[in-house]
């Protein structure tokens, strides 16, 4: 039964590099602590070569030119840890969250899906890289051996069954203990015990796992107790335990804190693009899409003296709801840009938080003889662009309201769903063809007119705004009285007339309305 371990070395550095890929080529050091006592807690290889070591103060590290110093960010580490679990979950449903930088997978039965063990290990490494994590991947017949191999060997390692002791032998003894970050979290007694064990083994001359595995069992237990035996079993690669699988919540969030507030749209778009790409990669690794994006921007809060305040940043929330599940970072970025143009935050931005609501990807069977329909992604972008021009409420489909009130309709979102509508398609029967229905063409807003009455009937209409809507009444029908909503504040009552007006050029047909409550006359539309 094979197990895999994904281990991200120098996890704080990896989390920072995931947010700023352009730092890959530079020496990077992460510091933590309160000023002025910040200390370096994690570095990458390039920083090691420059003589930077964990434990140095920030001031000492700053003396090294070309070193990129970044504060430790729990936000970035949380996002990186979530990405690590997403990567693991995309290969196995049984994943143990061993540490913030380590994930263990049970690969039983996965060979038929993903291929041989070397292929699986390479695929895991590639997937982790696509999520922005430079991870070591190791496969072994038990989870502990895989974890040791991942911590000890860089890159991809596959240990054949029965060869654990041989392959793990050259690794230093220190690999048996928790990594530096985990050590920092140990309480005082545990830390002392761990340090004492390491010191004892060092005094005995036990430098590697091979030497530890060769020690006599009884003598070891007499001197180091059960802990010593446990360590020897680990060194021999013979431990066997079941994983404690974690139910990874389907939470897809990415965030970034900014050192300097953002004022311009372009750098914001750059950061949003990066976050969106990371989110989409994580969703894709879980074979999911998203139908809702939530953007939360923390804004700089100015005090009454117009000075920026570092506390109580105001949140600015925008939610982007999509008609169908999608997974295209470019489309999402464009939609967010259009939304922010229409609804600007109003203050400099100090933190960006982006969350995606997971959804099953849509599956639609295209038909050979179905009528054309717009692509959902393209359509969504087009509608957003049009909405930015004409207004959100001025583009969409019409939904008639259950009322007799004139203009009783509202605009709804346009969704081109062909699958649902294909069931209602009717092929028109030529024998059933009816006459064309006379259409009314409305004036919005209705044109105010002056009406000359004779015997309470309109005989002449005068309109200042439209010269065609004035003239003698050639023919009229009405009035048709309608009223409603008398129990509401917006009661209405009107008389409608259908008129044929003779103007200078021709004869036109209008609908004339007399507002009985307001007293005005209006031309509501023309029959066209």
């Amino acid at each position: 039964m094979p197990f895999a371990c994904i281990y991200v070395p120098d996890f704080p550095v990896a989390a920072a590099l995931r947010a700023e890929p352009e730092l890959q080529a530079r020496a990077v050091a992460i510091f933590e602590g309160k000023s002025p006592l910040e200390k370096i807690i994690a570095i990458n290889d390039k920083a090691t070569r420059r003589g930077i070591a964990p434990g140095m103060t920030k001031a000492q590290a700053e003396l090294c030119s070309g070193l990129a110093l970044r504060p430790r960010s729990p936000l970035l580490e949380s996002a990186a840890h979530a990405a690590l679990l997403d990567c693991a979950q995309s290969f196995s449903p049984c994943v143990e969250d061993a540490a913030c930088d380590t994930a263990l997978l049970d690969l039983a039965g996965m060979e038929s899906l993903f291929g041989s063990l070397p292929e699986i290990s390479r695929a895991i490494s590639n997937r982790a890289a696509s999520l922005g994590l430079a991870a070591n991947v190791a496969l072994a017949s038990n989870s502990d051996a895989a974890a040791l191999a991942a911590r000890g060997f860089s890159g991809v390692t596959v240990i054949p069954a029965g060869k654990e002791a041989e392959r793990l032998g050259p690794l230093p003894v220190g690999v048996l203990f928790a990594n530096r970050l985990e050590k920092d979290r140990l309480d005082g007694d545990q830390k002392i015990a761990t340090d004492r064990l390491l010191e004892t083994l060092d005094k005995w001359g036990i430098r590697n796992l091979h030497a530890l595995a060769a020690l006599p069992k009884i003598a070891l237990s007499e001197r180091l107790g059960q802990e010593g035996l446990r360590l020897q079993q680990l060194a021999r690669g013979r431990t066997s335990r079941t994983l404690v699988p974690v139910e990874v919540p389907l939470i897809f969030e990415e965030a970034v804190e900014l050192e300097h507030p953002i004022v311009l749209l372009e750098p914001l778009a750059f950061l949003l693009n990066r976050l969106l790409e990371q989110l989409c990669a994580r969703l894709a690794s879980r074979a999911l899409a998203t139908q809702e994006l939530r953007l939360k921007l923390e804004l700089e809060n100015f005090t009454s003296s117009n000075q920026p305040s570092t506390i109580n940043h105001q949140p600015f929330l925008r939610t982007l709801r999509l008609p169908q599940p999608m997974l295209d970072a470019k489309i999402f970025l464009k939609l967010l840009q259009l939304d922010l143009n229409a609804h600007p935050p109003g203050a400099p931005i100090v933190k960006i938080h982006l969350a995606a609501e997971p959804a099953r990807p849509r599956s639609a069977q295209g038909g050979l003889f179905l009528p054309p329909s717009p692509e959902p992604e393209k359509l969504e972008l087009t509608l957003a662009r049009i909405a930015s021009m004409v207004g959100e409420n001025n583009v969409g489909v019409v939904e008639l309201l259950d009322t007799h009130r004139p203009q009783g309709f509202r605009m709804q979102r346009f969704v081109a769903e062909t699958a649902r509508k294909s069931n209602r398609e009717k092929i028109p029967d030529p024998s059933e063809e009816k006459s064309a229905v006379t259409a009314l063409r409305r004036f919005r807003p209705p044109l105010r007119v002056h009406v000359t009455l004779e015997n309470s009937q309109p005989v002449r209409v005068a309109c200042a705004k439209k010269k065609d809507a004035q003239g003698d009444v050639l023919w009229k029908a009405g009035p048709w009285r309608a009223s409603g909503d008398w129990w509401e504040r917006e009661a209405w009552s009107r008389d409608e007339w259908d008129l044929a007006l003779r103007s200078e050029e021709a004869i036109f047909f209008y609908r004339l309305v007399h507002d009985l409550l307001g007293g005005g006359w209006f031309v509501e539309g023309t029959y066209d």
């Binding site: 001025n394 489909v397 229905v437 919005r444 036109f508």
Partner: protein, 357 residues
């Protein structure tokens, strides 16, 4: 080589006719022998035409005989929703621009709704880019349009935002600039320009998006001088965008403005204008006609119908509350068509109001 005879065949839809020596499979106008007038014409076949031409002049190697030219396929025609219009034009052509022109009350919107009804019933998605926000949803439902397949883009004075290029900065207090300005302070001409810009931009975006069966540009209430500001290059761009697609682009306007870019041009007018002019002289008595749907008429008036001056007392004329607008007669004239022309050039059809039954 004798001079080529180039007739105006392109306008008539026939291929060019070149020198007979250079063209294979061309029938020679040989004089029939006496007593044998029914002898079929001879055909010359030149299988190695390109090589022969190249031997004469290398530049002639690329000439393709007219008989080998691919015939441009005719566009697919779909129903406009009105059988009389279909009989006149063959329907609306896909992948082409169609213009429907006419003044107010000429039946443009009626024909528009009929086309939308036909398209939505075929299962296609349609768009109306409404320059004047004039569409009446209730009329659309009465005509049979399936509203959930109709995307309505409402441009015009009531649009809440001006069309401006997006700002690079994030507007806000002090450090950011305000983005929107109220539209109410702008003069009418400026509003028309903004509206037109919105219409054209929206149409560009929709054509680029694709997937719609029918896209309508409703410029019916736009002032003619504003509509004429649309450059021909824009129409040409629209036409190219829908070429080889199943999309129908339909423009509703008062006067033709797309020039030769439109493949089909219909001029609408109300047939009732003529009748109304005649009826005016007989308004006192005659209330029977194309638009009146009165239920009862006095016996005296019935006897005097026929266009004569009536001597009936006005008090017996049908009062307005007994009148009913039952429909209109629309006259449609085919002005231009790049397709096969039908024998009839105009047609009249009747429409009914939704309450006429």
């Amino acid at each position: 080589m004798s001079s080529a005879v180039v007739s105006t065949s392109a306008a008539l839809g026939r291929p060019f006719v070149f020198d007979t020596q250079a063209v294979p499979e061309v029938s020679l106008p040989s004089a029939p022998a006496e007593g044998n007038k029914s002898r079929p014409p001879q055909r010359i076949r030149r299988p190695n035409l390109s090589a022969e031409l190249a031997s004469v002049d290398p530049r002639l190697a690329h000439i393709i005989p007219a008989s080998r030219l691919n015939i441009r396929p005719a566009p697919e025609m779909v129903s406009s929703g009105v059988s009389a219009i279909d009989a006149l034009t063959g329907g609306l052509p896909r992948g082409c621009l169609t213009e429907i022109c006419g003044p107010a009350s000429s039946g443009r919107t009626t024909l528009l709704l009929a086309a939308l009804t036909a398209a939505t019933r075929r299962g296609e998605f349609c768009v109306v880019v409404d320059a004047s926000d004039a569409l009446d949803p209730h009329s659309a439902v009465a005509a049979g349009v399936e509203l959930d397949r109709l995307l309505w883009v409402r441009c015009g004075e009531n649009s809440s935002q001006n069309f401006r290029h997006p700002e690079k900065h994030l507007p806000g207090s002090k450090k950011f600039r305000q983005q929107n300005q109220p539209a109410s302070n702008q003069p009418d001409s400026r509003q028309s320009e903004n509206c037109l810009e919105q219409v054209l931009r929206a149409t560009d975006l929709l054509l680029e998006s694709g997937g719609f069966g029918l896209i309508v540009l409703d410029l019916g209430d736009l002032p003619p001088q504003a509509a004429r500001h649309i450059p021909l290059t824009t129409w040409f761009r629209f036409r190219r965008a829908i070429e080889h697609t199943p999309t129908i682009l339909l423009a509703i306007e008062q006067h033709p403005i797309a020039g030769s870019c439109s493949s089909l041009l219909l001029q609408l007018g109300s047939a009732d204008e003529i009748a109304a002019e005649q009826r005016k002289n007989t308004a006192h008595g005659a209330s029977r006609g194309w638009i009146a749907g009165d239920d009862e008429a006095p016996e005296e008036r019935k006897e005097n119908c026929g266009g004569e001056q009536s001597t009936i007392d006005f008090q017996f004329a049908t009062p307005p509350h007994a009148q009913l607008l039952t429909g209109m007669n629309i006259n449609a004239e085919l002005i231009r068509s790049r397709l096969d022309r039908k024998p009839a050039h105009s047609v009249t059809f009747a429409t009914k109001t939704a309450w006429a039954g």
